[in-house]
């Protein structure tokens, strides 16, 4: 019987190479310069010269590695720093703004909410399950490192279109990874969004958000103060994972990928780490604590010292390693997951060791806090690196990237000329089956959204709602963003992301508190991309001002480009709102038959419909070739703010029983979602015909909310709206005969059974994924 055996050569070989490389003598400072090694780390000649002048000598190999990660885009925010400074970040409730691992907002009762969003786009493109999973793991650490108990997760996702097998693979695996991590660690994943567009074909976006609760007195920070205080590494052992992940997040160099082996997440380890860290922080013996994310020990130690204006001496030979013969360089740059850096009060290191032992984890003292302002790395008695902390952090380059308004923006046309559909209902069914519009149940049923038993509104409504134990209050949570709109109008698109997030919270009965943002863009070295970045950030700032929601944390992801194509500029807004009374919780599905249906917010103005087909998913469906050639609707922030005030007040007065914001897919989609989710039909009337009717039905971009009102409250709602000078248009009534019927100027344009609506909307993604 013939039998064969094959060994796959190249992987084994590259492992051997890596091992020999590690064992090799470390290059000298001279060689780093002569051979231009710093370039392969991503440093420019200019940056190298700057390092030489800051140090007053040539940096050694380890030092060069440390500078390269600290000065990378990922850690230094060198391209974005100047722009981010313009965000409004202050507010009466802000307890911690940007700059720490997560922002914190006061919610009364001595409690606060900590939250942050972060991208893990590049790792996901390479290994979607682990890339997405470790993204979730990282953002959870950012929250519990503040002393907060993580209570909810959200995720904002972008993939290429599902007709490509590769995209289906990336999508399925990312969802599995997100669920795999959150489910295991026991934090409910309660919301998010998913958009499909070929612009994300090679650059999927995975942005993960974590929300935590904290008592005011328990807030911990990432500071390394107090000379002589011990520094500990706690949690997982260090391996050769993802070395240079931060620097090479953008590199197209194949060696870079080889080098930065993908990190594998261990949610079980993180669950133990989470419990141990919270227990440790509660002892009051922790001086500072910071998670080790990108650039691992290097960035965590430099940032902790920088915040305190102190120095640190660390001995890498005391770091517990998973692999043999790891060099100082590798230990400093490893991105192994599930680790934290902790500074304890001197003499209390045993407290950390006891707590960690209970949870079966290691806590090893690796150094001390000094007052000389130096990050000094030893390997036993040998000094491997000695760098002023200020040189790494404060002196990191800040760039003034040129911004140029892209030509396409000046070539945009007004509304497209589409023929009016014979049957609006058929177009609505097709629209509901577009993966971007369709129900995301296929996604969120893979997430445990209920663990902790505080999830009062599960995924599927405008925002998720979770209870705040012991208070009778709740938090509403959402993420929103629409890259196509931002592409077509960067400023208004940025503003709209904020407005939409706030509107989702308001529709749920909440008062928006603050924003965390994840800014995903292409290559910032392209002036057109930088323009998109700058303008959309400015638009977000304006909306944050108008809606009084300061930015308290965030993250930037650049270089989301492949083959010269940049993704849509995709700022994602994560927002948290406070619901003062559980009785105010409101959801989007219709609740009962023979209720009045209103649209709050103007349907039209002097220029016709307030919505526009430009930028809409409907236009992308009807005429994909021209989807990017028409301007979207302008945004009126004053009108938006007024609309939100009305909705909030109407909910507070218990005038409305359901509220749903009108967003992707437009007004008919919003009606259909209310109907499908509530299993109720309606008989509705709209005005107009021709193009105006089409953009009213399918256009996007206007500030509108669909509200359901019991007849006995209809007059009160109309009065309130008049008083607040916001339009409230009565469109008709819900019914109990299971059909959604819409007519316009006496003509029936939609007549579809609710079951059929639901089938198109709910089954679409599943049918792609079979």
């Amino acid at each position: 019987m013939p039998s064969g055996e094959a060994q796959i050569g190249n992987d084994r070989q590259s492992e051997r190479e890596a091992a020999t490389e590690a064992a090799m003598e470390e290059p000298t400072a001279e060689q780093v310069k002569e051979r231009g090694l710093y370039r392969s780390f991503g440093l420019t000649d200019e940056e190298y010269e700057r390092i030489v002048s800051l140090l007053g000598r040539q940096p050694g190999y380890v030092e060069t590695g440390i500078f390269s990660v600290m000065w990378s885009e990922h850690c230094s925010y060198k391209s974005s720093r100047k722009v981010l400074r313009r965000f409004p970040t202050a507010g009466p409730l802000v307890l911690q703004g940007p700059g720490e691992n997560a922002g914190i907002v006061d919610i009364g009762d001595g409690l606060a909410v900590a939250f942050k969003i972060e991208s893990h786009n590049h790792p996901t493109a390479i290994e979607p399950y682990q890339g997405a999973a470790t993204g979730v793991g990282g953002i959870i650490r950012d929250v519990f490192t503040m002393g907060a108990r993580p209570v909810a997760l959200l995720n904002s996702l972008r993939f290429g279109s599902l007709d490509q097998a590769r995209n289906r693979y990336l999508f399925a695996q990312s969802i599995a990874g997100i669920g795999g991590y959150g489910n295991c660690i026991g934090i409910p994943t309660v919301g998010g969004e998913v958009v499909f567009d070929e612009r994300y074909d090679h650059n999927p976006l995975v942005n993960a958000m974590c929300v935590g609760l904290i008592e005011h007195g328990q807030i911990a920070t990432g500071t390394a103060s107090g000379v002589g205080n011990p520094v500990l590494v706690v949690g997982a052992k260090t391996g050769r994972d993802g070395i240079h992940g931060a620097t090479f997040a953008s590199a197209e160099d194949p060696h870079a990928k080889e080098r930065s082996a993908v990190q594998v997440g261990d949610p079980f380890m993180e669950k133990l780490l989470l419990e141990a860290c919270l227990e440790l922080i509660a002892t009051g013996k922790v001086v500072g604590i910071q998670d080790m994310g990108a650039a691992g020990l290097t960035s965590s130690s430099a940032e902790m010292a920088s915040r305190a204006g102190s120095g640190l001496t660390l001995d890498v030979s005391r770091v517990p390693c998973r692999e043999a013969a790891m060099t100082p360089y590798e230990i400093m740059l490893s991105e192994s997951q599930e680790r934290m850096l902790v500074v304890m009060t001197k003499g209390e290191e045993h407290v950390a060791q006891e707590v960690f032992q209970k949870w079966g984890l290691e806590a090893s003292v690796i150094g001390t806090v000094t007052d000389d302002g130096l990050l000094r790395i030893r390997e036993g008695n040998r000094v491997a690196a000695e760098i002023p902390v200020t040189a790494l952090v404060d002196e990191a380059p800040v760039l003034d990237r040129p911004a140029t308004r892209p030509r396409y923006l000046d070539e945009l046309l007004a509304e497209p000329k589409l023929t009016e559909p014979e049957d609006y209902g058929q177009d609505l069914l097709r629209l509901l089956a577009r993966p971007t519009i369709a129900s995301k149940e296929w996604v969120y049923r893979q997430y445990d959204s209920m663990v902790r038993t505080e999830t009062f509104v599960r995924p599927g409504s405008d925002a998720a709602v979770i209870g705040v134990p012991g208070t009778g209050k709740a938090l509403a949570l959402t993420t929103d963003g629409n890259g196509r709109h931002v592409y077509l109008d960067p400023y208004a698109g940025g503003a709209r992301a904020v407005a939409e997030a706030a509107r989702n919270l308001v529709c749920s009965g909440a008062r928006p508190l603050a924003v965390t943002d994840c800014l995903n863009y292409g290559n910032p070295e392209k002036p057109e991309v930088f323009y998109q970045f700058e303008q959309s950030a400015a638009g977000m700032s304006a909306a944050c001002e108008a809606l009084r929601t300061p930015v308290i944390s965030g993250n930037v992801s650049f270089y989301n480009e492949s083959h010269g194509v940049d993704i849509y500029p995709t700022p994602v807004v994560g927002m948290v709102g406070l619901i003062e009374d559980l009785a105010l919780i409101t959801t989007s599905e219709w609740k009962g038959a023979r209720h009045d249906v209103y649209v709050l917010g103007a349907l039209s103005d002097s220029a016709g419909s307030r919505s526009r087909l430009g930028g809409s998913e409907y236009l992308a469906m009807r005429d994909p070739a021209n989807a990017l050639r028409h301007a979207p609707a302008p945004l009126d922030l004053d009108a938006e703010a007024a609309l939100q005030r009305l909705c909030a007040e109407a909910i507070r007065k218990r005038l409305i029983v359901s509220a749903h914001d009108v967003s992707d897919g437009g007004l008919l989609t919003a009606f259909a979602e209310c109907a499908a989710a509530g299993d109720l039909g309606a008989d509705l009337n709209l005005a107009g015909d021709g193009h105006a009717l089409m953009s009213l039905c399918f256009g996007e971009g206007a500030s509108q909310i669909v509200a359901e009102v019991e007849p006995s409250n209809a007059a009160a709602l109309e009065d309130l709206a008049a008083q607040m000078a916001v339009s409230a248009v009565h469109c008709g009534m819900t019914n109990s005969d299971g059909a959604l019927r819409v007519s316009a100027a006496g003509r029936a344009i939609v007549n579809i059974g609710v079951a059929a609506l639901r089938e198109s909307w709910q089954g679409a993604i599943a049918s792609w994924m079979q």
Binding site: P2, G4, E5, A6, R12, A236, D241, D266
Partner: protein, 85 residues
Amino acid sequence: MNLLAKIYVTLKGSVLDPQGAAVTHALHALSYDAVRDVRIGKYMEVTLSATDETQAHELVRGMCERLLTNPVIETYTYELAEVEQ
């Protein structure tokens, strides 16, 4: 000819294997102190038909690289044997 490919997929040496680590721990807790290390991977039995061995090797390598493993974190080996029926 009909063949059985036995495919062994393992995580690359430097990639963290949390499952293996947990099982090592558990074995130690059960007093299997003699155990130094555990790595956990996948084992697949694929039955297929091919015109000859060369083609079979090609098929198996192809499916391993395209679907059955992710070369970023995994490696594989396999054995191929003719079977009856």
